[in-house]
Symmetry: C2
Subunit: 191 residues, 2 copies
DNA sequence: CAGAAAAAATAAACTAGTTTAAGAAAAATA
DNA sequence: TATTTTTCTTAAACTAGTTTATTTTTTCTG
């Protein structure tokens, strides 16, 4: 028997009340529970009608691959966060894969829309995502890589522990070599 | 008598049907019509509970100013587009000013939320904005300034006509000097 | 726990983009 | 239309970040 408790309590929290059995039934029908081991692939560029993922446990990254084969990390998402291509059902330019072994609840666009209509607070989540991305955008545009690294350490120290350095560098928009320089400079400064 | 027709027909289009007089009344009560001449300021960093703007006519830009005084354009918005800080009512980090003489319909957060609940398609607009920003983010991250300029020309040739070069350069994340180089190189190539 | 594989550090040469400054062109205004 | 102000161009010296390559360190796997 599949355990939907994490997902259901997420929706109860959204809704600020307990859900009826009917509501619970609807949710667990709309979502599919899936597990991926490290390096498992959830989404590939070119795919259409991709799904939305609510993460129960683990760590995912969403990224693009440019024509020369270079990868650029757009975002990471961990337990209790959503990840997906909001432009679905259009063919996606993104890849998603698992950085740790990860379990998710996934839902297709049609179901997602229905649920957004019903649980209005979920819609405002998209607004929050926008605000977050805009902030990140401004940072990358206006600050040096060193400043952005400092900011990431302040705001998300845990992520740095969980990620290999080359994923962080790609998230910051620099090469692993340059991040390594930043780090050694930083280490020198503070001892 | 203030003319709300552009705003009202926007909502009729959203809703895919005509609005009742009551609905029209609600909308024109919730929105305030304002005009700004070129260089007029609509929003300043530090302000709280900022408003949302639907543009009837003209051109606005949203930008930040870093501690050294440098400006970074985050986005431009023209007639029939929305602009605002979606993080409101929190104190905004953004400035908005008019690049042309501009008339807008503005609404405060509370009214905006109410309207979003009623005109659901407006909520999906936020989703579209997110998708747009994410695309732009990936471009800035993964492409050279030259490629980004090329892309802007393809996708928004009109904007280039309406904007001084130094605003475009800031939007692309480079200095005016460098954009000028890109342009002269481009001009040389194609004659 | 040995060997292989993956990740990180370091160095050196390079390049995309910045800075400062001065002159030319274009646009606004009297 | 002459004058002032704003915008754009060009040049030259500079720097933040890249590239390629080699070595060291850490992590994974049989």
């Amino acid at each position: 028997m599949v355990d939907y408790s994490v997902l259901l309590s997420y929706f109860e929290k959204l809704n600020k009340r307990e859900l009826s059995d009917v509501e619970k039934g609807e949710i667990s029908t709309a979502f599919r529970k899936e597990s991926f081991k490290k390096k498992g692939v959830l989404m590939r560029a070119g795919e259409s009608n991709t799904r939305h993922y609510y993460i129960e446990k683990g760590l995912l990254r969403l990224y693009v691959i440019d024509p020369s084969g270079k990868e650029f990390n757009v975002l990471f998402a961990k337990e209790k966060q959503w990840l997906g291509d909001l432009a679905t059902p259009a063919p996606t330019p993104y890849y998603i894969d698992a950085l740790e072994s990860t379990s998710v609840f996934s839902i297709e666009e049609a179901g997602f829309q229905k649920i957004i209509g019903y649980y209005m607070d979920l819609a405002s989540n998209i607004r929050k995502s926008y605000v977050f991305l805009q902030k990140r955008f401004v940072s990358i545009l206006s600050k040096t890589a060193e400043e952005n690294y400092e900011e990431l350490i302040q705001q998300n120290p845990e992520l740095i522990q969980r990620l290999p350095q080359y994923h962080i560098s790609s998230y910051l928009g620099v090469t692993p070599v340059f991040l390594s320089k930043i780090m050694s400079k930083r280490a020198r400064k503070r001892q």
